[in-house]
């Protein structure tokens, strides 16, 4: 009897590659309105179905349906749409600025705008986000100065971060936006620590941790889930599953045959899988998770299913590893088009207003860009002083850095 097989290593592959259209059936979508909405006090185990289904509110016709459809004030919906548009226009202009070599580097959030905007509008201004480099929509929704943002991108003399960080690695404490590391995943457990601190102090602020599908493989992700569960930390743990980590498909991070939301169940955390391109779903689920956190009911893990429509950064070309027109086939569509459709349907928006808003936002961003560029950029020498490089390593300048600054001759 010889029934032994030769062993072979399984290396996951996406269903689509250049020249081969993606089969998106792997996403296992639920119809809009299908998923239940449990009470916020639900035990984590009670979210088992919600971790594998897909919470959706907007149907294909732009109607809000099902238990997660709630009465969101029209002003919030209109601000949400405007902020998403603003994020996208900002990205496209900064991308051009990078091609003009005014910026060394840029990362856009094309296709993912609903998630950062929706959650930010669902939280309070004092709550702290621990973002990745693809949540600039949070800054836009919190109405951070565009000039400050662009000065950071330009690393110029007005850069709030003094030229120390790569473009897009923003930090805006006063707007509840934690410093972006660049080392993936580290902020996830820090968000949990911040939330624990808020609980230790009897505060009412909560934290929102952000991570991509790729970095769910990092140890910080697992530490974060463990600590969040152990201490019932008031934190929302967001996974933005945009399917791609540079050139690796989400299956390489462990997403094959499972949903990333189910990761949370094993840790004892309420876990939901949500249409990340559906602003109404993002807002409703974020509100639900925030209420859980604020009522000491514990953390919530949310997998946002979306698609990284652009390249990872200005340093890669996605047509080398996936079909160039992949986004146009992504079944959850474009978040801006979907919210626009809904708003028009309920009579709170129009094509004309959309066009006028678009033009006004373009003008606003162009004006901000012009002002920011008047303060220089990293290529024309208008950068923070070299002497300043030695400041802020420690609270006080130590003797060895004073000497090194002298050696530099500044």
């Amino acid at each position: 009897m010889n029934n032994t097989e030769q062993l072979c290593l399984h290396v996951p592959e996406p269903s689509g590659r250049p020249g081969c259209e993606t089969d998106f059936s792997y996403l296992q979508l639920s119809p809009a309105g299908f998923a239940d909405k449990p009470d916020v006090a639900v035990e984590p185990v009670g979210t088992r179905e919600l971790a594998t289904q897909l919470i959706r509110v907007l149907d294909d016709g732009g109607e809000a349906v099902g238990p997660w459809a709630e009465a969101i004030p029209v002003e919030i919906l209109r601000k949400g749409l405007t902020d998403m548009m603003k994020t996208r226009i900002f990205d496209s202009r900064m991308l051009i600025a990078q091609r003009q070599k005014k910026l060394s580097f840029y990362m856009q959030s094309l296709g993912e705008e609903a998630i950062g905007v929706g959650q930010t509008l669902a939280l309070r201004p004092q709550d702290m986000h621990f973002p990745t480099y693809r949540q600039q929509s949070i800054l836009i929704a919190r109405e951070v100065s565009l000039v400050d943002m662009i000065c950071q991108l330009l690393s110029n003399e007005r850069d709030p971060l003094k030229g120390r960080q790569l473009p897009v690695m923003y930090s805006v404490r006063e707007s509840g936006f934690f410093s972006i590391s660049g080392n993936l995943g580290t902020q996830y457990i820090q968000a949990v620590g911040w939330a624990m601190a808020s609980a230790i102090k009897g505060d009412d602020k909560i934290a929102a941790g952000w991570i991509g599908d790729g970095a769910t493989a990092a140890s910080d992700f697992h530490s974060a889930l463990t600590f969040a569960h152990v201490y019932r930390a008031p934190v929302i743990l967001n996974i933005v599953n945009n399917q791609w980590a540079i050139s690796t498909f989400q299956a390489i991070a462990g997403g094959e045959g499972i949903t990333l939301a189910t990761r949370g169940l094993g840790y004892g955390i309420a876990s939901l899988r949500v249409d990340g391109n559906d602003f109404l779903a993002v807002y409703a689920v974020s509100k639900w998770a925030a209420e859980r956190a604020r009522r000491n009911l514990g953390p919530t893990l949310i997998e946002w299913v979306t698609y990284r429509a652009g390249p990872h950064s200005t340093s890669d070309d996605p047509s080398k590893y996936r079909p160039a027109d992949d986004w146009s086939h992504f079944p959850l569509g474009d978040p801006i088009a979907r919210l626009k459709q809904h708003l028009i349907r309920i009579g709170a928006w129009s094509d004309e207003e959309h066009e006028a808003t678009h033009k006004a936002l373009e003008a606003e961003i162009a004006t901000a860009q012009k002002e920011a560029e008047s303060y220089g950029n990293f290529t024309n020498g208008h950068i923070p002083s070299a002497a300043d490089m030695f400041e802020g390593v420690y609270k006080e300048l130590p003797e060895h850095l004073r000497l090194q600054r002298q050696q530099l001759g500044k």
Partner: protein, 351 residues
């Protein structure tokens, strides 16, 4: 010992005889009492009070939201501490053994150490990472390491190692109060008494030594000040932690008038005390328990030659642990004891 000499009028507050464990516990007790932003957490530190008893009684006194157990995840302990620091707390995070710190390195090196810099001061991580280090207790290669050089080369970190109860308490309070992240290494062989490397002789308890007289109240030992623990004229010995005691024993046994400097704060470093001493004695040896190659001693040798080259009359010697993992059975062959330090002293004096 002259470690007390630079210290202000705190001698007026009542003193108690403390081991290094009790002094470390007292430092956390004082800071938990004074500053309700101080929290203490780590593996086994809560109800049980720590595997070395450094946090015994603190949870009962301050409650489990300020002194609590953590999962076995050094990455998580360090990362959560950074987040707490960003919120505004002053966490004291215990890594049960310095040998276990490696999963936390990303959070210490890339996050805690750089948060102030990269956010232009918007966020800071005023965390104290306590961790027992060093050998001499038959801990084998996973309970004996001295990883200080991993931290001293990281910009933005402070690295501290006391050698006696008085300094341990004062330095730990200064570390907790510091707005910079501090790696606080505790030589575990010194927890219960000074140790000169003569492992075959009876153990001396701290109560037999004057540095066990520790103020019960708040005081600090500054974080960038070395201590001349034995003034001398013939040769300078630069050392810290357990080998401070080894160096003192070696000088005594060889009858050499060595000036022994306990660095206490490894980085930032009190370079002035070092260069003043070497320019006076014109000879220098460096002693530490950690491995030699690219060890912290290499930096000390480099600084001494850079600043004192024309004063030197002999090559600078290093006496260190060997470049091997810390062995179990051969612990005393590995440990840089008074015999090896004594030989180095003799060689240096013969030049």
């Amino acid at each position: 010992m002259t470690t007390h000499s630079k210290l202000p009028a705190q001698t007026q507050s009542p003193h108690a005889v403390m081991t290094m464990i009790q002094a470390i516990r007292s430092a956390m007790d004082v800071m938990l009492e004074r500053d309700n932003n101080v929290v203490v957490f780590g593996q086994d530190v809560g109800y049980f009070g720590g595997v070395f008893r450094c946090t015994e009684g603190l949870q009962a006194k301050y409650g489990s939201s300020r002194v609590f157990d953590a999962p076995i995840s050094e990455n998580g302990i360090a990362g959560a501490a950074v987040g707490m620091g960003a919120y505004g707390l002053r966490p004291v995070a215990e890594i049960q053994f310095a040998d276990y710190v490696y999963p936390a390195i990303d959070q210490i090196v890339s996050e805690a150490a750089r948060l102030r810099y990269r956010s232009a001061g918007q966020f800071t991580a005023p965390v104290t990472f306590r961790m027992p280090c060093g050998g001499g207790i038959y801990g084998g290669q996973t309970h004996s390491q001295s990883p200080e050089a991993i931290f001293t080369q990281v910009c933005g970190l402070r690295t501290v190692m006391p050698s006696n109860p008085y300094d341990a308490k004062g330095l730990l309070i200064a570390s907790i109060e510091s707005d910079d992240p501090v790696v606080f290494l505790e030589p575990k062989r010194l927890y219960n008494g000074p140790f000169d490397g003569h492992h075959d002789r009876p153990v001396t308890p701290w109560s037999k030594h004057p540095s066990s007289s520790v103020p019960e109240q708040h005081y600090v030992v500054p974080l960038d000040t070395a201590a001349i623990v034995r003034p001398g004229k013939a040769v300078t010995i630069l050392t810290y932690g357990t080998t401070v005691w080894v160096a003192l024993a070696a000088a005594l046994e060889q009858g050499i008038d060595a000036e022994v400097i306990d660095l206490r704060s490894l980085w930032p470093l009190d370079l002035q005390t070092i260069t003043d001493s070497v320019r006076k004695t014109r000879r220098c040896i460096v002693v530490h328990e950690a491995t030699r190659t690219c060890g912290y001693g290499a930096e000390l040798v480099s600084l001494v030659q850079e600043h004192c080259f024309h004063h030197l009359e002999a090559p600078i010697e290093r006496v260190t642990g060997w470049d091997t993992p810390y062995p179990h059975a051969q612990e005393w062959d590995y440990f840089p004891g008074p015999g090896r330090v004594g030989e180095a002293l003799k060689r240096t004096m013969e030049v």
